[in-house]
Amino acid sequence: MNNATQNRLFTEEGVTVEPVITVRGLRTAFGDHVVHDNLDLTVFPGEILVLVGGSGTGKTVLLRQIIGLDVPAAGTVKVLGHTLSELTPGERRRLSYRWGMLFQAGALFSALSVFDNVALPLRELRTVPEDLVRDVVMCRLAMVGLSSRDADKRPSDLSGGMVKRVALARALSLDPELLFLDEPTAGLDPLRSDEFVDLVRSLHRQLGFTVVMVTHDLDTLLALATRVAVLAEKRVIICDTVPEVLKFDHPFIHTFFLGERGLRALGDLAPKGMQHGKP
């Protein structure tokens, strides 16, 4: 039933598309503590999927498993047509050219300048001429709204918002088909956070990549999400558009979306008189 709701969005429109990410029967356990059990998730091309869940529900762990940084105890993860556990090191490397990740704290290489950070993925290909590298990097910096003055700066000289922008430019360096964002607006003030959301939205429109994002921030979620996957009870309880998720009856959804903060952020989307009818 869960699968049916996940696929409905696309099958109703009569479009059959190959999913970008397919997670089936995933299980994660730290010692006796089971975080995910029999978790399924499907991500379709071009959408922005937001993962939400209470703290300790393993959102970031799930993201790390999709990108292959952690290995699940059981289950399969298929990304861009490749099953992660069956990849040879060479295939693994080629796959890594096709995705980008924005880490929560940026994870910029502090020994390299902003320019070299963004250039690193291109230079690691070893075959791209340096003048093209320069043009691509300057284009990426322009995309995230940084000027050539910032190119020589060190990551330690940047503000929090700038670090996120540079990290985004680096994640976009190879023009990935798939972009992972881990708490992209955490630690930014509301203004910077809104700017960042606008940036991701406009880049998504221009470049058409698929985004999988973890966030706690309702404003970010509402501004960007095509679909929302809610993690609770060790699995994805619902993965659908915001109005459909609001109709779903679950304590976490009540507290997260329909609490005071949630209702304020939802605005017109909030269900009339707090009933879970059609918004």
């Binding site: 284009c139 910096l141 322009a142 221009q206």
Partner: protein
Amino acid sequence: MPHSALLATAAAPFRHEGGVCHVGGDWSVLALAEPGEVDRRRAALARAAQAGARWDMHGIDRLDTIGALIIWQAWGEKLPERVRWGAGQQDVFNALAMNKGEALTAAPRPESWAWVRAMGGGILRAAENGKALLIMLGQLVLDVGAMLRRPRLGPWREISAQVYRTGAQALGITALVGFLIGVVLSYLSAQQLQMFGADRFIVRLLGVSIVRELGPVLAAILVAGRSGSAITAQIGVMRVTQELDAMLVMGISHGQRLILPRVVALAVTMPLLVLWTSAMALLGGMLAAQAQLGVSAQWFLQSLPDAITLTNYWIGMLKGVTFGILIALIACHFGLRIQPNTESLGRGTTTSVVTSITGVILLDAVYAVIFSTVGI
């Protein structure tokens, strides 16, 4: 057809027909990452652009902004007059046109006299480090005074933890190195002494050189590499994670909680480690002398107290205490100077170890001069 020619024979993403350049194939970064591919395509595009061709982009299956950038540059960074698009391709070029990267500002030319500046900077930095070390030593004396006045408030738990970490855990490595150096020294000396028939002097030779010089220096070098680097890295990481700032905010002074326990701990453990290393070196020397010269262990041990005078023993202990304080001070100093980035952490740790080993050997030379002038 006059213009019918295959422009690029190998990859063949181009077909030039009747004044129309058909661009096709894979223009994603993965295809372009093949060796030489970028240059080949650029050359072919340049030829087509020079011929003033019309463009047909329908054949492209995959296009990303990096591939598009190559085509865009061949077009002279503007859209050509006549071009036919596939679905969605214009968006990629629009994205490029919207985000035209600025030219990179040229790096400033290096000055021709930069080495003078670098040398002067080095000297000034060394002087600055020396001054900071002196201030730290002064602060340490004040902190020790404060601790002695109110011993109940002293950081005893931290001191005990550091004693265990820098002392007890270093026993294994100092024993091994000391023992092996003793064996080596004994073998080398035995060869020379045998030539003169002065076998019996092996005890004096080993006793004085190990207890007075080798034991303290050997232990100090091992401790500087082992505990000194650990102290620097630990304090450095505390800077990176803002723990140092958090301590200041709570009103906990770095001197009392970080520097004092480490200095006191090393001042306690270093003489003990010196004693231990010297004993192990003498044990190694004794066994080697027995094997090489036939000097019995019993006789070796009996004549040892006469060979090592009490003065030499106390000189070894004094060296241990001062080397320990020096290593801890230098390690803390460079730890506190680390900037919150990975490069600085690595450089700081290296500098700390190199400086403390150099400092130990320098101090040892100073002791040698002082003791020889007073005649002990």
